[in-house]
Amino acid sequence: MVLFTIAEPGQGRARQVIKRKRAAGIDLGTTNSLIAIAKDGKAEVIADVHGQRLLPSVVQYRAGGSRTVGIDAMSPLPGATIISSSKRLLGRGLADIQHQLPYVLQDAAKGGMVNIDTATGPVSPVQVAADILQALVERATTQAGGELDGVVITVPAYFDEPQRQATRAAARIAGLNVLRLLNEPTAAAVAYGLDQQLQGTIVIYDLGGGTFDVSLMRLHKGVFEVLAIGGDSALGGDDIDRAIADWMQKSSGSSGMPVEDYRQLLQQARAAKHALTTVTTTTVRIGAWQAEFTRSTLHELMDSYIETTLKACRRVLRDAGLAAADVTDVVLVGGSTRTPRVQQKVQEFFGRAPLCSINPDEVVALGAALQADVLVGNKYGDAALLLDVMPLSLGVETMGGLMEKIIPRNSTIPVSRAQEFTTYKDGQTAMSFSVFQGERELVSDCRSLAHFELRGIPPMVAGAARIKVSFQVDADGLLEVQAEEMTSGIKSSTVVKPSFGLVEHDILDMIKASIESAAADKALRTLRERQVEAQRHIESLKAALQQDGESLLSVDEKHKLEQVMQELTVAAAGADAVLIERLTETLNNQSRDFAGRRMDAGIKTALAGRRLDALGEKP
């Protein structure tokens, strides 16, 4: 009798990766951004030519269209516009922004995303993010050798869909292949879990410049499971700076400042806040007015913000059914956690001293780089596995503008759920669906994501049709919604890609502008990509045939597959990108049935528990 083992399809080709790919982790922060690259399981932040690791998330736009990013952008030139903290505007409409900013906003048409008035004309926050991303990638290419195959960009866990999509759009404009948007606290946990072998039930408290996230995770033998997340996507160190600036304005009796003066006031407020981490009092001035700004005044100004973060911590614990005492470690992330008051309050709340052994400014980028290395295909088997959750509930609008939740918040992804609905009128032949995200009862308080229709329902009496609405969220957090009338089988579906006022052709225009000069490179890049893709398919099929070709295929079937594989091998050595693509497609189609049989065989053994036991005995 022939004995053979079945290895799961993903692992079989672990040892056959053609060449090591280059992937980076990017922390696109409100105040600072940075990029890191992992090599041999260790991640490292890439500095610029001057050795600076943090890139201030500041872009200066000048008349005539030139721009600078980072430290150089912070000193104003006459007539130029300096944009900072624009992450807070990503995926947001004017109505969402309720505080004073050191620049002027324009509302876009139809309640879409805001634009910023600059010396070069209106600029979308997506463009600002793209400019920052480009500056970071340049570091990676010049300082750490060569093009990137892919990136993992981190986002606040509490970012909603429009904010995530805006981040993706920025990456597309910057010409980046996004492997995943990773939640910032999750990325921090990866860094602690892999670098410091942290285990147990961990709280990640992440207070950045403009966002607050709290994440409750279980770290166990390389599996990092997010139990619950919460936070506020518009709360951070910036708010404290603003509170200080407002206090200064009020105390000095000055008001109605021009934007440039207000920008300087904010800088002074931030400097005073930083100074108070080491001394107990510092002097602040506006014009001729000056005053002592003490630590106790700072505490008065910031305590209500800290209390808001602790409320979110309480909710996250409740969502996971745990108490503060169940938490084994608390990790601090984000520059704002350097404030002694924040550390003190967090320690009081959880009853234990928080950890900050990895630089809180860098930990997110480091974790993202480690995960990028896995997702680009460099690591298998022993690689850490992240089980992340949906931060906010997803649902559809029902009669009366109510939100019917289909996927509750904190559901581990990937996840699929379905719910049945029916018609409310006799003879109704169409039904429209509006998809929303949020926790509130009324859809008017939630964020609208997409809208689609199901047509051609056979006329029936009200309530007789059975319409199944299915939500599928993949490991990237991308949502696909499908509606099907069960008695007739008619279907309609949509992939949710909310662009929030930024229509597809705007994104394409921005992309075009950024790559116009590189058109020739692009054709070459396409060819390389297709060659690599073809090679990947050939290698994976070879491995599969070697393992299961004899047992799952007839001689004839096996022969046919080998023939197409041979044709593709020849084509991939040439320069005809179209031919390579066509043959890759053919190979993929012809091997689908084989892949299905392998998967079935795999599932059968897994369900019987046999394969797992066998796996445990592997060296």
Binding site: E8, P9, G10, Q11, R13, V17, H220, K221, G222, V223, E225, K311, R314, R318, V374, L375, V376, G377, Y380, L385, L386, L387, S411, T412, I413, P414, V415, S416, Q472, D474, A475, R536, H537, S540, N588, S591, R592, A595, G596, M599, I603, A606, L607, G609, L612, L615
Partner: protein, 174 residues
Amino acid sequence: MSVTDFFAILDMPAGCQLDRALLDEQYRKRQALWHPDRYVNASETEKMQALQHTSLLNDAYTILKHPLRRAEHLLELRLCESGDVAVSKLEPAFLLQQLELREELEELGLQRDDAAFARLRQTVAASMAQHWQLIEAEIAKHDWCSAHLCLQKLQFLYKLQEELNHLEDRWLEN
């Protein structure tokens, strides 16, 4: 209509009681094998199957983790196999008792009383424990219909407990 057996998917013995550490272990092992992140270099078909299988694993884990939802699933499976039809005819005495408990809760909502709240919580917890014993006895006798009736009572009690938690949260927040 057939029901997906979540116990089988995670290779757990089917029952009301369950070894939580074993459940976590079984879930993590399977996720480590099937998670889409393990299939980044695989074909579209394999990716799709990994996506579907892990979605199913996540569903199974969510249900089995929660005692009430686990019992609901168990009885759904058993009723489906046996072809028995569950009836929902709760005794008036039970319903009356529920009404009284709810009235107590409403009063507490108007007027905070920590001692009365603790007593109410205790009553609900005791009643839940009692019904869990009953349901396990019925399951042991393979009397799925009686077990299902008992389950319905537990659903009332869990709902009540949830509202007690909400009220407590409200007090904590203010």
